[in-house]
Each structure stands twice: as structure tokens, then as C-alpha cells.
């Protein structure tokens, strides 16, 4: 009754060739990328790299060709993104648009919106950020207070979004906001906002690592034209929930510290201790099983099923794994973590360690995910 099956998806005939192609591309493009840079995982941002990925046809892979896509399967896309993550490629610039903003526009957007934005996203030229969280609305997304008041020809937006990753380097935001009064989930909508619009202020929020990924984005009477409403007014909640299924299901939910595991294996070298052997073996077992689970979810998406529950399970397990890698690594090699260390390993350890707490917060906290799973088990 509560059996969650995770069937192996069918093998893609083109998979092996595609994987070779991606590996060759990454070997060339990332030849000089250091372990400490790779440890940034999908926080690594490089607009030029994203354009090259777009030129290779690896953004918007599964979208129709008439929107600049490449009509490849979700499983082929999976191959590309897992190879990018495993290599520690700097994918942040195009990541959000490829993963969720583009699919959202394809699903709910107008024909004009699709034609305007999807080809630019697929070329790796147009970057998006997510406008969900607010200062007083984190896990409780329905408490969002940012308001879009209908005016002649569009909306006037006022409010503040917070934790906007790479908002300072994105061209557009998909804004979740309130367009009318209503009980919690009612009266919310999604707007496609040009971040160059007058009245928008983007301020950095510096992380404990010293890095600038987060921003606070404030809107003061910002005009958004009516044709930038995504989907239907008042349907924001349902739309954003479908967006979250994309956000939670991918391999980035268990591969964030894989570059550190790779650096660890490099560091233990050819004469490893029995302790390292067991600990690395155990992590590798987790890695392969998570990959099997995640790959299965990708297969369900490709088969047009709704794996929201399975995705929550995989993300919950994946975050535990990603967070465990630095904790295991630090006991196997005597090296004090430091961002500025000369040792690439010590620096990669520092980067992963300082990023780790976010893994069970971003994209749905551990508590929210476990609530979703509990509901799936019939407990709520």
C-alpha cells in the first residue's frame, strides 16, 4: 500500500554517445578548473560557459525545436546535467531557467512568452532567478506578502524577495506574489519580471563563506505589463507547486559535494587506510543507490507521471548524503579546512563544509519534505 517503486527507466540508445560527448567537452573546458572551484558545484557561475553549453544544445534539451529546444528526452537531459555536476562545472547561470523557469513557461506561458524567452534561454543567453521566499515567508510560501495591484495595462508590484540566488546576475525573475485578496493559496499569481525595470533594487546578502550568491530584491511600485502574467491570475499556488516538482527531482539534490568526494579520493592516493577504504566504500554505495532512485524519478517525469512524492524522498535522502561527505572526509585526512588554504583539498573541504547546511534548506527544507512524505504515507 505504501510501497514506493523506483523502476529502472529504459536505457536511452543515445545515452553512451551523449555521455562521451559531454565528458569530452567538460575535459576540455574545465581543464584548468581547480578542486576548490569545482567544490562550488552548481553555485559556480560562468556566463561564457553557459553560452557554450547552450551552443552545444544542452540547455532546454527536451523542449520543442520551434522554441529553440532540441526535442531530446528527459533522460538524455539527465545524462548531461549529472555529468556537469559530477565534474563540478559552473552551471549556475543557466541552471534555474533550464530546470524550472523554462519548463514553467512551456507549461503555463503564452505563445508570445514562449517564443520570446525559450530560445534565448536555450542559447544560454538569458538567465532567470526564483522569486519565492520573502523576509517573513520562508517555508510558509503562502504567507508571501509581495503584492501586484492590477492597473491599466498591467500590475504595480511592491514587496521584498529574499534569498534570491544569483538575482544580481539574472535577467528575469519569476515572481510569486499576491494579486488579490484571498485565503492563503487563493489570489496568488506568477509574473515574469524584467530585473532592469525601474523600482527594483537588488542588494547582496553575503554568506558565512564570504560568497555572494544570495540577494534581497525589493520592488517599489514596479510596473509589470499584463502580458507578463504567467498562466492564469489567481492560479499562482498550483503553478508554483508544479514548478517545485522540477526543482526537487534532479541529481543536484545529491551531487552537491561529489567534487569533494573526488578530491578526497585524490588526497588519500595510492596508500589508503582500511578506515578510508570502508568510509569511501560506504559513501560510494549511497551514491550509486541515490543515483538509481533519482534516475528512476527522471524516468517517471519522462513518462509524464507525477513523482512529487518520490522526488521529496530522494531529495531528503540526498541532502543527508551531501551533508555527510564533508563530515566523513574531515576525519580521513588531517587537513584543517580553509577557503584560502594552499592545499586544494583543504580549500574544497572548506567550500563544501560552509555550503552543507543549505542543502537541507534550499528547495524545500527537510521538515517540509518530511511533511510531504508523511502526507503521502497517509498520516496527514
Amino acid at each position: 500500500m505504501h510501497q514506493f517503486e523506483f523502476p529502472m527507466p529504459p536505457v536511452e540508445p543515445a545515452e553512451a554517445a551523449l555521455r562521451r560527448e559531454v565528458r569530452a567537452f567538460l575535459a576540455e573546458k574545465l581543464a584548468g578548473r581547480t578542486p576548490r572551484e569545482r567544490a562550488q558545484s552548481w553555485n559556480g557561475h560562468d556566463a561564457a560557459f553557459s553560452r557554450e553549453v547552450g551552443q552545444r544544445g544542452w540547455i532546454g534539451m527536451s523542449w520543442p525545436k520551434r522554441y529553440g529546444g532540441h526535442e531530446r528526452s528527459a533522460l538524455e537531459r539527465y545524462v548531461v546535467i549529472e555529468e556537469m555536476l559530477a565534474a563540478g562545472a559552473p552551471v549556475a547561470a543557466h541552471w534555474t531557467a533550464d530546470r524550472q523557469s523554462g519548463p514553467l513557461l512551456f507549461k503555463f506561458g503564452t505563445e508570445e512568452q514562449r517564443q520570446t524567452f525559450l530560445p534565448r534561454i536555450a542559447r544560454g543567453e538569458c538567465f532567470f532567478c526564483i522569486g519565492m521566499s520573502e523576509p517573513d515567508s520562508g517555508s510558509d510560501l503562502a504567507a508571501a506578502r509581495t503584492r501586484a495591484v492590477p492597473v491599466d495595462g498591467g500590475f504595480r508590484v511592491t514587496g521584498t524577495k529574499l534569498w534570491t540566488t544569483y538575482g544580481h546576475r539574472a535577467h528575469y525573475m519569476i515572481l510569486f506574489c499576491r494579486t488579490s485578496e484571498g485565503k492563503r493559496h487563493e489570489g496568488t499569481s506568477q509574473l515574469l519580471v524584467d530585473l532592469a525595470s525601474p523600482g527594483i533594487k537588488i542588494s547582496p546578502v553575503i554568506e558565512m563563506s564570504g560568497a555572494h550568491h544570495f540577494n534581497e530584491v525589493s520592488f517599489e511600485d514596479v510596473f509589470v505589463p499584463a502580458d507578463r502574467l504567467i498562466g492564469r491570475e489567481g492560479e499562482g499556488w498550483a503553478q508554483v507547486m508544479s514548478e517545485l516538482a522540477f526543482e526537487r527531482s534532479g541529481p543536484e539534490r545529491f551531487l552537491s559535494t561529489l567534487p569533494l568526494l573526488v578530491a578526497l579520493v585524490r588526497e588519500v592516493g595510492a596508500e589508503w587506510s582500511p578506515e578510508a577504504e570502508r568510509a569511501i566504500g560506504r559513501l560510494f554505495a549511497h551514491l550509486v543507490v541515490l543515483r538509481h532512485l533519482s534516475h528512476s524519478v527522471a524516468g517517471m517525469l519522462e513518462a509524464k507521471q507525477d513523482p512529487a512524492l518520490q522526488a521529496a524522498l530522494v531529495k531528503d535522502l540526498g541532502a543527508v548524503f551531501e551533508q555527510e561527505i564533508p563530515e566523513v572526509a574531515r576525519l580521513l585526512v588531517a587537513a584543517e579546512p580553509s577557503i584560502s588554504a594552499r592545499s586544494e583539498y583543504a580549500a574544497a573541504l572548506a567550500v563544501s563544509m560552509l555550503a552543507a547546511p543549505s542543502f537541507s534548506l534550499r528547495g524545500g527544507t527537510r521538515e517540509i519534505l518530511r511533511g510531504i512524505i508523511a502526507r503521502g504515507l497517509g498520516l496527514r
Binding site: 579520493v265 543507490v289 538509481h292
Partner: protein, 346 residues
């Protein structure tokens, strides 16, 4: 209905009748239920993993192995997994399949099985340790060096022991002469019996973990404290969500193990599967007992038949520590640049 549904339906129907709590308790007291085994044999399950050409039914091995997940879920007190894989290993090696109950055994160290040509056959000598249902098996399948062999079990060679769950785990002395049709080249190198044993224990763990999850969800929806069912408390809900994650991981591990067993027993995926399922078993049993409270500790309760089994199964045919070491050696030998390709290929 698909082949898988038919097999699973048959297994569930049969096991529900022969794995009742009374029967589990009797089995633990050493009572052998010949009638139960007869029903299993009549359904053809011991031959479910044997290719059609060698007297099997031509089921897909992965479907046949799903039966063992059901067996795990029922804590089936019969050596079905052992007989199924013993028959499969013999069939793959081209050896005749003896009738009746079979088991599998491993030996090591000073007591490692030795084998030498003798006349038209072979002389074998050694001691197999903790053979499941050794006392009930007519024959035991084991490996010695690169050979696989099928030796009769004699009552005088059996020293009885039990697992944490009270399942028979007997030492069996193998001493004597075997005719030529009892020995062949092992179908795979590197301990086919231990690999196959680890794979079936992984599959059984997945079934038992899933059943413990179902029992625990049902209990949480039933048990009232502080005026509401305990499943309404967020702490319990989060325990159960975490439990479901472990069940999912065990299920995925069982899929890996089944694919490996259906193929030529590659060591890496089996090591991965046993390592992950063993860890899931410990976490799941702890959560199941925590949520059940004291009632789960009582002998009458089904939970403890399952928890004691997963605690013993995770250590049989290699614990997480042993298999993780094998994985770690392969990963460290592959090196930093080989790690990811190894993961994709596993």
C-alpha cells in the same frame, strides 16, 4: 496478469498460510513444518530461478527474485532463498539439480574447503560455517577455489546453531568423496556463493523493511495517546518519513542485487546493494521499535520477527563493513578520475 503479478500473487497467498505467527514461533523452537515446504515445492518456487532448459519454468530471474522480497516481508521460516539460488548456481554450472531442500555455505581460513581429484571424482574436506537450515538440507552448494560443488549433508556432520532471529545457522562438515557430476567450474570467479547469498539477503531485507514500515504506519494510525493517534504528532510523522526514505533505499538496493543475480554476479553492485540495505535495515528497525514502543518488543508481536531477521541478515554473507571495504578498494584503485565513471557503470 503479468508474470510478475502471478508470481507475487502466488507467493503472497502461500506465505500468508505458512508464515503465521504460530508457525514462526514453532519454527524458532526447532519444529520443521514439512507441509509448509511441500506447498512451496508444489508451487515450483525452488526452481523459479532455473532456466527452462535445465528444468525450470523460464521465469525472468528478476521477477522470480521478487518472490524473495515477499518472503522477507513474511519472515518466511523456510530455506526458499537458499534452495532457489543453490539450484540456480548448479544449473548455471551445468550440474544436475538434486531434489529437495538445498542450502548454501561458505568456508574460510583454516577450515577452508579443500578439493582434489580422486579416481573418477573428487575428494573434499572442510567445514562450512553458519549454513542456513544446514540440518534440514539434503545437500549444500559451496565453492572451493574455482570449483562449485554440491555435497550431501550428513546428520553427523552438522553442529546446530541459530541466528539472532532463531533461524537455523548450522556448521556443516564436508568430508568425503564426490562423483564427477557433483563438481564443476564455478559460474563466476570470486565467491559465487557469498555473492549470491549477499544478494538474496539484500532482497529479503528490502521486503522486511517495507513490511516493518507498513506495520508501523498502521500502528501509528491506531495507537492513541494524549487524546489522538500518535501518527498525528509531527515527531512521529518525521520518523516515518525518514523510515520511508530508508525503505526506498533498500528497495533500490534490492533492484541492484536482483539485476546482478540475474546476470553473472558482478561483485561491485552486490557489494553496494548489501552495504546500503544493511544500513537501511538498522535504521528502519530502530525507528520501527521506537514508534511501536514496548509492545514491539514482545515475543507475540510480528515486528520483532522482522527486526531480528534484518539484524541477522545484514551480517550474513558479509556485513556493511566487509562489503564497504571491497567497494572502497575498487573506488580508491580507480582513483579520483575513475570514481564517477565507476558509479555510472555500477
Amino acid at each position: 496478469m503479468s508474470e510478475r503479478e502471478i508470481l507475487l500473487g502466488t507467493a503472497e497467498r502461500i506465505f500468508a498460510g505458512i508464515a503465521t505467527s504460530e508457525r514462526l514461533a514453532e519454527a524458532e523452537r526447532g519444529i520443521w513444518h514439512a507441509e509448509g515446504w511441500r506447498v512451496i515445492e508444489e508451487a515450483g518456487l525452488p526452481l523459479a530461478l532455473v532456466p527452462e532448459e535445465q528444468g525450470g519454468f523460464g521465469f525472468s530471474p528478476v521477477n522470480a527474485l521478487a518472490v524473495l522480497r515477499v518472503a522477507g516481508a513474511f519472515a518466511l521460516p523456510f530455506p526458499l532463498a537458499e534452495t532457489m539460488i543453490a539450484n540456480r548456481l548448479l544449473a548455471l554450472a551445468g550440474l544436475p539439480l538434486p531434489d529437495g531442500i538445498l542450502s548454501i555455505g561458505t568456508s574460510s581460513g583454516r577450515d577452508a574447503l579443500s578439493i582434489a581429484r580422486n579416481g573418477g571424482g573428487w575428494r573434499v574436506s572442510g567445514r562450512l560455517v553458519r549454513v542456513p537450515w544446514g540440518r534440514s538440507a539434503g545437500n549444500v552448494v559451496t565453492v572451493a577455489g574455482d570449483a562449485i560443488l554440491c555435497s550431501p549433508v550428513t546428520a553427523s556432520g552438522v553442529s546446530e546453531g541459530v541466528s539472532l532471529a532463531g533461524e537455523p545457522r548450522d556448521d556443516v562438515v564436508v568430508e568425503g568423496w564426490l562423483p564427477a557430476d557433483r563438481v564443476a567450474d564455478a559460474p563466476v570467479q570470486g565467491g559465487a556463493v557469498r555473492l549470491a547469498g549477499a544478494a538474496v539477503r539484500t532482497i529479503a531485507i528490502a521486503g522486511a523493511v517495507q513490511r516493518m514500515l507498513e506495520l508501523t504506519i498502521a500502528y501509528a494510525g491506531d495507537r492513541v495517546q494524549f487524546g489522538r493517534t500518535i501518527g498525528k504528532f509531527q515527531a512521529i510523522q518525521h520518523y516515518l518519513a525518514s523510515f520511508a526514505g530508508q525503505a526506498a533505499a533498500a528497495t533500490a538496493a534490492a533492484d541492484l542485487a536482483a539485476a546482478a543475480l540475474a546476470g553473472n554476479l558482478p561483485a561491485l553492485p552486490i557489494a553496494i546493494a548489501k552495504t546500503r540495505a544493511g544500513e537501511a535495515a538498522g535504521a528502519a528497525a530502530a525507528l520501527a521499535h521506537q514508534i511501536h514502543g514496548a509492545i514491539g518488543l514482545t515475543y507475540e508481536h510480528m515486528l520483532q520477527h522482522l527486526s531480528r531477521r534484518v539484524w541477522s541478515w545484514r551480517d550474513e554473507f558479509g556485513s556493511e563493513a566487509e562489503w564497504a571495504a571491497l567497494i572502497g578498494r575498487q573506488v580508491c584503485s580507480a582513483g579520483a578520475d575513475g570514481l564517477w565513471p565507476l558509479a555510472v557503470g555500477a
